[in-house]
Amino acid sequence: MIIQTAEIKGLKLSGRVAAKPLAAAFAARAALTVFLLISILAQALSGHTAAVGGDGEAAEAAFTVDARDAMERTGDEELRGTISLSGAWALYPMVVKWAEEFRKIHPGVRLDVQAGGAGKGIADALSGMVDIGMVSRDIHPEETARGAIALAVTKDGVVPTASRRNPYLKDLLRMGIGRSAFEGIFVTGRMKTWNDVLRNGARKEVHVFTRSDACGAAETWAAFLGKKQEDLLGIAVYGDPGLADAVIRDPLAVGFNNINFAYDAGTLKPVEGLVVIPVDLNGNGILDPGEKFYGSRDEITAAIERGAYPSPPARELYFVTKGKPVRPVVRKFLAWVLKEGQGFVREAGYIPLSAEKLKVSF
C-alpha cells in the first residue's frame, strides 16, 4: 500500500522491496484475526462462569452459573433467573403446569422445560447442561456415585394396554390378567397364545410390544415383573405414543403406557382405540369389584393413591440434580413444588405424594 502510493505520487523507490515485509504484514493480519477470535471466545466463556456464592455446601455444586443469574436476589418478591429442566416425557405435563403456576407468583423467573426422555434428563443433569433432570425411574447406584441426588416430586403409574379391537375383549375385561401371566407374556414368553392367558380356547397369538428407547415406563413395568427393561420381550417401538399407536392398530397386541398417555387428557377415558387391561391383583382368575378401577383416569389415580394399585407399576417421579442445589432460584422452586405445587398434581392427572415423603430438607 505504502509502496503503491509512493509510486503514484511519482516517487520511485530505489532498492528492492523484499517480500519479507509483505509476508510479515500478512502474518500480522492473520495473527490479529486469530487473537481477536480467541479473545472473543474467551470472553464469552469467562462471562459464562461466575463465582458460585452461597453457603459452605457450595463446594459440592459443580454448576456453571449463567451470567443472567448475576441478577438473582434471594428475596421472595424479587426472585429472578432461569431454571432449565429436561428429561422424561412422563413428568413433562406436570412440570409445564408447575412452571405456569410458579411464574404467576414469581414473574421474574423463567423455566425452560425440555422433554427427551429420562435418560437425557439424567445425562443433562449430571453433565451440568441443565439445572434439574426430570426422571421417571429410580436412579442407579452408578448415577448416585456420580453425584446425582433424586428428589421425589410426584407419582404416576404405568398401565398395561390392549387394542379395543381385541377379539377377546369381553373375557379380558372380565378376568383381567395377573402378574404371573404378565411375566409369561413379557419376560419368559411362555404365554404364546391368548388361550394361555385367558383359558378360553383362543388360538390366536399374543403380539407383545414394548419400548425401544431406554425409558422410565419400561423400566417400571419390568420392575413390576421383577426384571429390567432389557428383559422385556416384544417388538420395541419408539416413544409412548408410538407404542400406543402400535397397540391400537394390532387387535392381538399387548403393551403398556404411562397413565397420561393411556388416558385422554380431555375426556379422562382411555384413548380412542385403546383399552387398559385390568390387572388381576390377587391372582384368582377373575376381576373382583375392588380391582375394577380402570375406567377413567381419576379412578386409577385414586386407586394408586390409596395403594390399591401396586407400586410398581405405579412409581415416583424424581427431580435429579447434581449435588445439592445451590442456586437460590432452584431451591425456591423445589421448595414450592414440594408444598404448594402438590396442589396442582391431581388436576394434571398425577398422584400427590404422601406426607412423609415430602419432608425433605436440603
Binding site: 509510486e7 522491496v17 517480500a19 509483505l22 435418560g119 439424567i122 452408578e142 425401544s212 428407547d213 402400535a246
Partner: protein
C-alpha cells in the same frame, strides 16, 4: 467454447484509465510489475499454506472421532475380549453381556435390503432423466428429488409407521408368515427411499459428464436409446455409478431415526425379511441417554459406534480398491 465477456468491461477499463491518466504520465509512474509480481507470489504461497492447513482438518477430524470413540470404548475392551463382544448374541447390559452380533447382522440386513431396492430403481430413474426425459421434465424433477433428500428423518419414520409397516404386515400374510410389520423389510424400504436422492443426484452428475459426442456417435451408428444408455453412458460412467452407490450405502449405514421407528428393535439375529432387527445406529439412538448411568454400558455403546465407523470405513476402502482396479483395467 462460448466466451461471454463480462458486461461493460470495456467502458470500465476506459474509465479507470482516464482516472489514472493524470497520475501516470509515463511508464515510470505505473506500478512496478516486479513488486506486484512478488506480492502476488507471496499471496499465493500464503494462501497455499493456509489452505493446506485447512485441508488436513478432515483427516484430523476422522482420527479425532476414531480416537475419541476408542478412548471411551477402552473400558469395556479391558474387561471383555473383542472377539467375544463381536460374536456373542446375548445383549443384556445389566448382566454384563454385550454381544453385538445381532446388531451387526441387523445393520447389514437392513442396508443390503435397502441397496437391493434402491440401486436399480435409482439408476433406472437417473438414466431416464438423463437420456430420455425432455429438459423441462428434468428441470422440474430435479428439485423434487432434492426435496426428498431434505425431508427430516423423523418424518420418514412417522410415514413409515403409517404406511410401510401395515403394508409389510399385509405382505407377510401373503407369504404365509405372520409379522407385525415392524421388520427388516420395512426398515429396508424406508431406508431405500431415503437413499434414492443420493444415488440419483450423483448419477445425474456423472451422466451429464459423458460428452455428447459419444452418445451422438453411438446413435449415428444405429443404436437404440437404451443401447446408448447401456453400452455407452453406463459403461463410461461405471466408476461414478459405483461411487454413487457407495455413497448411498454410506448414507444407509448411518441413518438412524427413520429406521429405528419401523424396524422392531429386537436384539436377535434376523432370520427372514419379515423378522424384526436392530441396527447399530438404532442401538445408539435408543440408549444414548442411559450412557451416563452404567459405565460399562457407556463404553459398550461407544464401541458399537466405533464398530459402525469401522464398517463404513471398510466398505469405502473396498469400493476404492474396486474402483482403482476398474480404472487400471480401463487404461
Amino acid at each position: 467454447m462460448r466466451f461471454r465477456a463480462p458486461k461493460n468491461s470495456f467502458k470500465a477499463e476506459k474509465k479507470a484509465n482516464k482516472a489514472l491518466s493524470h497520475i501516470a504520465v509515463n511508464n515510470i509512474d505505473r506500478p512496478d510489475p516486479q513488486k506486484t509480481q512478488k506480492k502476488r507470489l507471496v499471496k499465493d504461497l500464503a494462501a497455499r499454506r493456509f489452505m493446506f492447513g485447512l485441508t488436513l482438518l478432515p483427516g484430523f477430524l476422522v482420527f479425532l472421532i476414531l480416537f475419541g470413540l476408542l478412548w471411551k470404548a477402552r473400558a469395556i475392551l479391558a474387561v471383555k475380549p473383542l472377539g467375544r463382544l463381536l460374536l456373542s448374541t446375548t445383549w443384556k447390559p445389566s448382566q454384563g453381556e454385550f454381544g453385538m452380533l445381532p446388531f451387526l447382522a441387523g445393520t447389514l440386513a437392513v442396508t443390503v435390503v435397502a441397496m437391493v431396492i434402491a440401486a436399480p430403481i435409482s439408476l433406472l430413474a437417473a438414466v431416464y432423466l438423463a437420456e430420455y426425459a425432455p429438459r423441462r421434465m428434468r428441470n422440474a424433477v430435479r428439485p423434487l428429488i432434492d426435496l426428498l433428500a431434505g425431508l427430516p428423518s423423523v418424518v420418514y419414520g412417522v410415514w413409515g409407521v403409517l404406511m410401510v409397516v401395515p403394508l409389510v404386515e399385509r405382505a407377510s400374510r401373503l407369504f404365509g408368515t405372520s409379522s407385525s410389520g415392524y421388520s427388516i423389510l420395512a426398515g429396508g424400504i424406508v431406508l431405500a427411499i431415503m437413499v434414492f436422492p443420493t444415488i440419483i443426484h450423483v448419477s445425474l452428475e456423472v451422466f451429464s459428464s459423458v460428452s455428447r459426442d459419444l452418445r451422438d456417435a453411438a446413435l449415428s451408428l444405429g443404436a437404440t436409446r437404451w443401447e446408448v444408455a447401456k453400452k455407452v453412458v453406463l459403461r463410461k460412467s461405471s466408476q461414478g455409478i459405483v461411487a454413487a452407490v457407495v455413497l448411498g450405502l454410506s448414507r444407509a449405514f448411518g441413518e438412524t431415526m427413520a429406521v429405528l421407528m419401523v424396524v422392531g428393535n429386537i436384539p436377535r439375529v434376523p432370520k427372514s425379511l419379515f423378522d424384526p432387527g436392530y441396527p447399530l445406529p438404532a442401538l445408539l439412538a435408543n440408549n444414548y441417554g442411559e450412557m451416563m448411568s452404567v459405565p460399562l454400558y457407556d463404553s459398550a455403546l461407544m464401541l458399537a459406534a466405533l464398530v459402525l465407523l469401522v464398517v463404513v470405513l471398510a466398505f469405502n476402502v473396498a469400493a476404492r480398491l474396486f474402483l482403482s482396479r476398474v480404472e487400471r483395467r480401463a487404461t
